[in-house]
């Protein structure tokens, strides 16, 4: 690779295999200045973790603090739509700094504690079983559309406490919101339509639950509004955040994990030998090896030294968890998929004050899916020559994952 090629974050070979590319960057400089996109790319584990634990130096309020246009570029006539995206995203919890972030997170994190999420396990287990009951006799599926996408929508619909028959519409909204991190030049159109759809869909639900709260997630947000911590707009866009953040990430965990197993049949056999016992560690290794989210952003809130570099106030930063998870300084034989790996201090959920709110849910969904698949199926085979990924720098999202298996008589 020539030096100038090292700045091509969206090159097809980088989208197909980010690991080789980011490993090369990490070797050159774990705190690398990308001249072309005008941002820092952080690939070293220690550097990423240090950055995430210094929230006072690195702001999460990207939409408020950065005037940069969307990248990759969008159709020029669609640029005004980006203001709508900005407004929507700027009010979400993930874009807040302290002190607001702390107040808001305190409202919602009660809902997502490991203990609270554990009570959802039977629901998740049943939902997985129901989906697999239908798929198992067929001998083939697209893991993405048949399993990985419907599962989180079912869970989220239940968490929002919305009618069962709304699931298809929620899935449609969730699918539009997925354009958030895509590369298509026309993406702002379906995206803003989906965002407006969520605002319209959630508004009457919030209104209703302000006065008659249930134990669902929208009621939690509505009570936060009543307490003066959230504005109405914040309640609505955070409802959208739940739908989005809980959807794409879980989809990717399931698809990328299963693909890793297909490519490492010895590891699959280990899981099949003890699905209940191995599901927890296996899920962690799937999260490390090919994480649902490759990278995310910060903006320097001050001048700061990181590694050998001086980052200036206002500089944009991309920290690459997919690279940090393969840092040989931390992980022995980092490119090896090893479901027995322990300890496994991957940072696929981030670190610091913005550590993934849905971590306990994501883990549980992964554990239940991998466990159920290993209990029911022999080996899977890829039913395609090649897999393709969405051209996103943020998400590691397969476009589809067709697989087949030998059906057995039960």
């Amino acid at each position: 690779m020539r030096a100038s090629d090292l700045d091509e974050l969206f090159a097809p070979e980088v989208i197909a295999d980010p690991y080789t590319y980011f490993a090369r960057l990490r070797e050159i400089d774990p705190v690398y200045w990308n001249e072309r996109f005008q941002l820092w790319v952080i690939t070293g584990y220690e550097e990423v973790v240090w950055l995430l634990r210094h929230h006072e130096l690195f702001s999460s309020a990207i939409m408020r603090n950065s005037a940069s246009p969307p990248y990759p570029p969008v159709d020029p006539e669609d640029l005004p739509l980006f203001d709508e995206v900005r407004e929507f995203r700027a009010d979400q919890l993930v874009e807040q700094d302290r002190p607001e972030h702390l107040h808001q997170r305190t409202v919602v994190h009660e809902y997502f504690t490991p203990t609270a999420m554990e009570s959802w396990r039977p629901f998740v287990r049943d939902a997985v079983a129901e989906l697999l009951d239908e798929l198992e006799p067929l001998g083939r599926m697209d893991v993405l559309t048949d399993l990985a996408a419907p599962l989180p929508v079912r869970v989220i619909a239940q968490m929002m406490d919305v009618p069962w028959e709304d699931r298809d519409y929620l899935r449609e909204l969730a699918d539009s919101i997925l354009y958030m991190n895509r590369g298509e030049p026309y993406r702002l159109r379906p995206l803003t339509k989906g965002m407006q759809g969520i605002l319209d869909y959630a508004a009457p639900l919030v209104e209703e639950r302000l006065d008659r709260p249930g134990d669902d997630f929208i009621s939690i947000l509505a009570q936060g509004e009543k307490a003066g911590i959230f504005t109405r707009h914040q309640v609505l866009v955070n409802t959208g955040l739940l739908l989005f953040a809980g959807h794409e990430t879980t989809m990717n965990l399931i698809c990328n994990g299963l693909l890793a197993f297909i490519r490492h049949p010895d590891q699959w056999d280990l899981l099949v030998a003890d699905p209940g016992g191995m599901a927890r560690l296996a899920t962690e290794e799937c999260l490390r090896y090919d994480p649902p989210v490759k990278s995310t952003q910060r903006i320097a809130a001050d001048d700061v030294r990181l590694g050998g570099a001086t980052i200036r106030k206002g500089d944009r930063i991309r920290w690459i968890m997919a690279a940090a998870n393969r840092d040989p300084a931390i992980f022995q034989d980092p490119d090896r998929f090893d479901i027995g790996r322990q300890p496994n201090p991957h940072i696929s959920f981030g670190s610091g004050i913005h550590y993934c709110l849905g971590v306990a849910l994501a883990r549980m969904e992964g554990q239940e899916v991998f466990r159920a698949l290993a209990e029911r199926f022999g080996r899977f085979e890829l039913a395609t020559e090649e897999v393709e990924y969405q051209p996103s720098i943020q998400f590691r999202s397969l476009k589809s994952l067709p697989v087949r298996w030998e059906t057995r008589n039960r």
Binding site: V49, T106, T115, I353, Y355
Partner: protein
């Protein structure tokens, strides 16, 4: 003067983020379940312990004065 503290980690909340281990390594360590445990409540300064509590993403750390029982965090 350093006062003695009671430091507790609520395992219903802890998600194993390890931020407290980084801030006050003498005080917190991970158990087998990757949840934080208090190994020595005097293992760091009060300031560091309160910083760890304040920066815990799930608010799992509670700190009080051992003598007076006064709640220092949250």
């Amino acid at each position: 003067m350093t006062r003695r503290l009671n430091v507790r980690v609520d395992h219903a909340r802890c998600v194993g983020n390890a931020m407290c281990l980084a801030t006050a390594p003498g005080v917190f360590a991970h158990n087998d379940q990757r949840q934080s445990e208090v190994i020595d409540p005097q293992g760091a300064s009060e300031e560091k312990i309160l910083e760890a509590a304040f920066n815990c993403p799930t608010g799992a750390i509670r700190v009080e004065s051992a003598e007076s029982g006064e709640q220092l965090f949250p």
